[in-house]
Structure formats: C-alpha cells, structure tokens
Symmetry: C2
Subunit: 481 residues, 2 copies
C-alpha cells in the first residue's frame, strides 16, 4: 500500500456532501438474499460437486507429529514459549487470569499470541443486477474435512507482506490499496477469546465493478446461496461467517430500522458497559514453561485431566496453499461444543438472550456472547452452565436452526460445535435474568456487531445463521429481521 496516496474518505466527494446512508446496499443485499438456488455461475445443487472436485485437485494430508518434528518452530529456552524462527506468524505462550468475577478467581492456560491485524475480506460484484460474493475453497489443517469455503482473502499480515516468501495472496489488492470499489462493511472483530490473546481482524467487504480474473479455487455465490450452505455442516468456515455477520442489516438505514425492542438501545449499551466495568481482572502473559496445571509431553501440552484443550503439532502436505507443505502447532479442544442462542419473539420482534461473557483473551475482556457456549463434558453435573439443560432438552419444534460448524482451521484442530437457535417458551422468556444476561432484539445484536469488538465470534456466527433463515420481506412489513 502506498501510504502517500490520498485516502478514499478524503478524495471522494471532497467538496460535496452526500447521504450518510446508502439504500442501494440494502436493496442489493435483499435482492441477493432472495436467490437461493443459483447464481450466475454455480447452481447450489452443483456446489458439493464443485467443492469435492477442488478437494481432489488439492489432495492434502495432515498428521499429528511430535514437537521435535516441527520445522522452524521450537520452544525458547528461558520461557518455554513455542515460537517460529522468523519471529513472525504466532507464538504459544502462557496466560494468567485473575478476576473477581465467576467461580474461578485465578487460572492459567496456554494461549496463542499473534500481535498483528489480519484481513478477512470478501469481494462482491453485481452480475445481472444481483450481488455475488467471491468465495474460496481453502484447505486448512485443523478443519475436520480440511476443505471449506473461506472469504476471498484470509490473510495475516505475515501472509500478505510475504514474510514466508510464499506466493502472493490472490485478490488482496482489493482490500489493502487505494480501493477499487465501494465498501459495504469494514470493522475490527475479535477472534476466540479463550485461545487467542487480544487477537482481532479486519472484517471487510468491498464491491467492485472491475472485471475480476477468475481462478478455479474461487466461485461467485449469492447471499441466498451462502445462506443455503449455512444449513450444512462444516462448509462455510469461521472466517466467512464472521465477515458475513458484519454486513449491514438487509433492510437498514435510519428510516427503515424497526424502532421497537424490549429495551432502548441506550439501555442495551449501558448493560454491556456495566458488565465491562463491574469486575476487576488482571490478565498477564506468562511463560509457557512451568504453567500451573499444565505439562508438556513429546506430543502435546495438556492438563492431563481430559478437560479444555491440548496444544499439538501437525505436518501438512497440501498443494493448494501459498506454501506447499509445512508444520505448525494447533490448539485441539476436547469434545464437541454447544453454542446456542435462546430466541423469542416479543410483540412479534425477534430477540436473542445474550450473555455478557468474560474471556481472558478478548481485547476488551467482556463481549456479547451466545446464551450457551461450552463443551458440556468440561463441566461436572453439579456445575452445569446456565441454560445448557434448557437448550439440550429442546423439543424438535423449538429448534429453529441446527448445524455443526468448525472454528478457524488454521489454528484450531477439530474444534467443532453444534450451533443452535432454540425457541424459548413463554415461561422461560418471562423469567427474571441474572445481571450478565439480557434480551436484545436481533437488530440490536446487528448494531453491536457493526460497531466492532462488542460481539464475540461465536455470537457472530449465530447472527449469520439467524439471517440465513430469514425470509426476505418487504420493508413495510419488516418486523426486525
């Protein structure tokens, strides 16, 4: 990027004002969401075949290895931290959390540090008047099925500044230079606060009018097609889900927003602010060596009691990545997660039951999270997370959405959760709430998501799933979806 180039904010409309909100975006998104069966390039029915074909083109294998078989990675003598010899990519260190909140006043854990802001970017373009999104079939070693659908660009700074001397990142110029298109969304969002230390990425969607050179690993899909694919297990990867969550509401704009909710927006922001300032915490990186409760074997860093996660190492042989083969550490959680929002329509306006959740690695420590976010086996029967039993006991008719999705396959191995949207019955919806819970309208969840660094990545996935089920309705009838 040329730092001397005049920026877009400066150069567009430098003398003339224009509207602060653009209805064209809302109309384009609504139109794109309506096409669920086919776009201009690939029918939804042909998608699985296309992805399988890409998989055969890039036959890949991933296997667990000993730490001593890592190439370029080693444990530092003094701290025991796991680092790359280039000093880049990421490191695995220790974290100590002390807090006045919750049941555990102090704990230690390994955590990934990667102090750089990556780009998760989706390129959008109109074909025949319908907005399409350029998605990539991307192999990541931690995905249970290796190949999933990623954003157009999914790159750490190390990637796109080519610290690893690999191939250039395809299409990255649409996101880093003086832009060629119109920005639909561009916001910082946190990543997993239990496994990353203060990591956040730029989530950006740019619409171009250029001819975009095709590539066999990429395909253009409508928003409706992406919504269809979100009904399937392990197809749309985490990075795609979070970027899509940052899109403005399909029917947005100041005169189109449903103006009703259980609580005014000011009270919702106040609730989050209060939850962020009610407790003390001291969070500090510490050496990985000698981390209390954890020990290192030849093949893993583990607690040994089967809870939470291990740090492991893998060897990757893949033809489709910028670098053809490599080794790296990954975090591997134990057990399948349950990630769910309880949902309820109040006066016909859909709401979710949000949890202000503290995670040691979040940039601002507390963010809005799903009602339930846990691996059930981690919790003894007498200390079940709140609302877990209600979610698991839901009758089929109460389950509005259910699919398995996996987390960032570049850092996490087999990190799969059941993502659920479960109807809360009237009795549950009328129960008083503990201070860290609140009913937010879907629009309020969207607003907090659009502000950045306020809604965690699991809740953002669920927001994308929520939207994937919405029937587009005329703006006049819009009740909040």
């Amino acid at each position: 990027m040329d730092p001397t180039a005049p920026n877009r904010v400066a150069s567009v409309g430098h003398r003339q004002t224009g509207p602060r909100w653009d209805r064209r975006t809302a109309d384009l998104l609504a139109g794109s969401a309506q096409l669920t069966d086919e776009g201009t390039q690939l029918a939804t029915a042909d998608f699985a075949g296309w992805l399988a074909h890409r998989g055969r083109e890039h036959a890949s294998s991933v296997r667990r290895i000993d730490f001593t078989d890592l190439k370029g990675w080693h444990f530092l003598g003094q701290t025991g931290n796991l680092v790359h010899q280039s000093g880049r990519f990421f490191t695995v260190e220790g974290l100590r959390v002390r807090t006045s909140a919750g049941l555990f006043p102090e704990w230690h854990q390994p955590i990934i540090r990667q102090p750089e802001v990556g780009i998760l970017g989706i390129l959008a373009k109109e074909f025949d008047g319908v907005l399409h999104f350029l998605m990539q079939a991307k192999m990541e070693p931690g995905n249970p099925n290796l190949l999933q659908l990623s954003p157009t660009v999914q790159a750490t700074r190390s990637n796109y500044t080519r610290a690893h001397r690999g191939s250039p990142v395809r299409y990255v110029e649409y996101f880093t230079g003086p832009r060629r298109g119109r920005v639909l969304a561009d916001v910082l969002q946190s990543e997993h606060g239990s496994w990353f230390y203060r990591k956040h990425n730029r989530n950006v969607i740019v619409e171009t009018r250029d001819e975009v050179p095709p590539h066999p690993d990429f395909c253009w899909l409508t928003l409706g097609q992406l919504h269809e694919l979100l009904q399937r297990d392990n197809v749309v990867n985490m990075d795609s889900r979070t970027v899509l969550s940052s899109l403005p509401a399909a029917a947005d704009g100041p005169d189109r927003r449903p103006a009703r909710a259980l609580s005014p927006d000011t009270e919702v922001l106040s609730w989050l602010t209060e939850q962020r300032s009610t407790h003390d915490w001291t969070i500090a990186p510490v050496p990985l060596a000698g981390l209390p409760d954890w020990h290192r074997t030849e093949r893993e860093i583990t607690r040994g009691d089967g809870r939470f996660f291990d740090v492991v190492a893998v060897a990757v042989d893949a033809a489709s990545r910028e670098v053809p083969s490599w080794t790296q550490p990954l975090i591997e959680p134990h057990g399948e997660g349950v990630t769910a929002f309880l949902v309820h329509d109040f006066d016909g306006v859909p709401h979710v039951l949000a949890h202000a959740r503290m995670e040691g690695g979040l940039p601002l420590v507390v963010e809005v999270a799903p009602t339930v976010q846990c691996v059930p086996e981690n919790h003894p029967a007498d200390k079940r997370p709140r609302y877990l039993d209600q979610v698991l006991a839901a009758r089929p008719a109460q389950v509005r959405y259910s699919a398995r999705h996996s987390e960032e396959g570049g850092r996490f191995r087999n990190a799969v959760s059941r993502y659920l949207l479960v109807d809360a019955d009237e009795a549950l919806a009328a129960e008083p709430l503990a201070p860290e819970y609140a009913w937010l309208s879907v629009r309020q969840l969207e607003r907090l998501t659009g502000a950045g660094l306020s809604v965690n990545v699991q809740a953002r996935t669920l927001l994308t799933c929520l939207r994937s089920m919405a029937k587009p309705v005329p703006a006049a009838d819009d009740k909040g979806w």
Copy 2:
C-alpha cells in the same frame, strides 16, 4: 452492588417492546441547552463567587516533594516501578513501543498503569421542566487552580470500594446499584494514551426523579450554563468534558439525524478500521529501572532534555477530599499544549478534520484525535506536526473557539492546553489529505464518540466545546449541529 439483583435490561419492559430511541432525551437536552444564564439554583453570574467560596472553605496546598518523602509509595527493588504499598491505586512503570508507523520505530517512556475501570458519572434531574446536571467543586492536586468543576462522581474502583478506608463516595449509589433512574449515556471511553496504559473509564449520565440530598460542594447547572462555563479557562475539568461528550446529540434519533456528510458513515468507519490495521506495533510494559533515555533523580524521573514530561511527587493538604492529606506521584508535562480541530462547513454541514492517531497507551492503539495535538516546543522547527502552523497562524476571525483546559488533575500536574476550533479556508479544505486524516461531519464524530473507545479524550473535549457554541435550532432547520 448486589450482583444477584435482576438487571435493568431484564426487568424493564420484560414482556412489552418499546421504542429503541427516545425523543424525550433529545427534547430535554435541547431545552436545557437554551438556558445559559441561570438554572433553578445558581445564576451563571454567581458561579465564580460560589466556586471561590468553596475554595476558601477547603483551603488546600500542594507542594513538590522528593520521592523519599512519599508516604506509602516506593520504588520496587527489582523493576524500579513506583507502587503503593496497598497494591492498589496505580503504578508508574516503563513502556516500550515498537511500530512500523511514524518517524520513530521504537521509543521508551514511563507510563501510569491502573488496571481498573473507574466511574465518571453525572446525575441529571428535571427542575421546573428543565434538565439540570449535578456538578461538584473538586480539588485535584494537579490542577493549576486546584479547584474545578467535576462530575457528580469521579471515582476509581479503589475509591468507591474504599480501598483507602476513606469516606464513602457521595452519590455513587446512583451509578453502581440497580439504578434509580434512566440512563442518558453509558459508554467506555479511553483516557490519555500517552500517559496511561490502556486506561478507560465508564462515562455515565443517569436521570433521577428522586429527591437528591444537597451538599455544599455540589450544584445543579443546566447544559446551557455548562456551555457558558466552557468558554472560561480551567473551570470545567477533563472528566466533566468527556462525560458531556458522551451525551447523545441534542437532536438525535433516526428520523432527526442530518443524513448528509462528505463521506458515508460506512466509509468513515472503514477509514478508522484501515488506520487501525495498517501498521504493526508491539507495545509492552517494561521495568521503569534502566528505561533507555530516562533517568531518576531525587525529585523526578526525566529525560533531562526538557522534552515531553517528568514524573514528580507532591504532598497534598486538603480538607475536601475523602482523605484529608496525602502524597502521590504525578506526571508533569513540559510546556503548554495546542489541541485543535480545523473545522469547515461543506454544503452548510459542519465538519472537523480528524486525525487517526497512534498513542502507545490507548486500548486499541489508534483513535480519532484532533487535527493538531502537541506541545509545540517538543518539536524541532524542521519537524513541525502537520497543520500546527496553520492553526497558530489563524486570524482572529477564523478562531471559532479558544480556551485553556487542563487534563485530569488527579494524575497530571499543570497539564494545560489551548483548545481551539479554527476555520479552515476553502483552499485548505480542498487540499488532498494524507491517509491518516479525514473530514468527518460533527454528527459522525458524535456517532463515533457514542460508540466508545474510538475518539480520544482530547477530541472529546473539543466535541464538547463545539457543542457549547451551537445555537439550538428547530429540528427542521437542523444542519448537523
């Protein structure tokens, strides 16, 4: 605070939806802004006399002392960090900043660490149909004139949990418990990023209908009266200025917001996001002992070249504080600052020239800052900060606002800046901008401020000053003020 009490978001309107935006707030604020000469309690003309009287009631003295005369404070043996024996309040440590941005790839500096979220709270109440704000005459040792007007509550957690075993903080129950009133604003805001490490406070305004017990150090003032007092030097303290900046725009609400600006809101957010992700930085607390370029004498920690600031110690004798006398460290900058927005009306819509500024201690490293923010003497003639000369050369007719204000007097000593709003002429307004600058409408600056942790404390002071000059206009004529 009782953590088991049902929260407000849960308990208010639990079954029924209501409007997400409340016009009553906008109307109350507009009405309160119109009364500039008198409220129901104290005429503006009598304010100076009242404050002087409070000063005589609380005769205070502050004097510089040697570090060895600090009581309860000492330098830790190993790190040389300056700490309090209770382990609370704050510490003075070292900070190392490495960055790919700007002229200086690495620097070291002392910095204040205070890992707790304080409360800056203003209580509001209607008298005779006009909203008044409860302000406090508060002595702070770093203020050049000691006594200034502070929010109703200005308390660190150490204060209001009574870590120092002093008196309880008056009126704090309006902000920490299940609230007695209606929230007008409640948002986290950063403090000085050059002097504090990741410090942020809760900025909160609550409207009560209770009878509020009076106290001679407190007075009720209208928004118009506060605006009048902001025209004077060193009266309205930093904490008051930042809390007032968090108020919603007087004519807010989705159908009242001026919908025009030079750039759409999406582009403005994109500009800030890009500026937050364009550069690498590594920011780490380091020991104060042996900090490169700095050394410690008996009376100060200093660079010795007269630039930036010193760490000093003072003894305070004051009757009005929760604790009658104490000693403490303070940061004392060298020279008077210049803090200015260039402003320009495009198509009649007022805009400010914003700077995406990196400060080592900011929670998210980059925030929106004034066009100019510096102490001119720190910069050699050949490395003048951009736009400083244009601001200093402004003709009187171009200066829309000018007053001296001081920064947080509980931590900073004689930290005074000239706060300026300077008209940019047509030629300057038409110049191309470097990527880290952008013209934002005042409403866009307000929106970013309302989101929290996006606009730095100096720019928030200037926003409050901007609003203090606005003539209230009927909503139909509203062009953006």
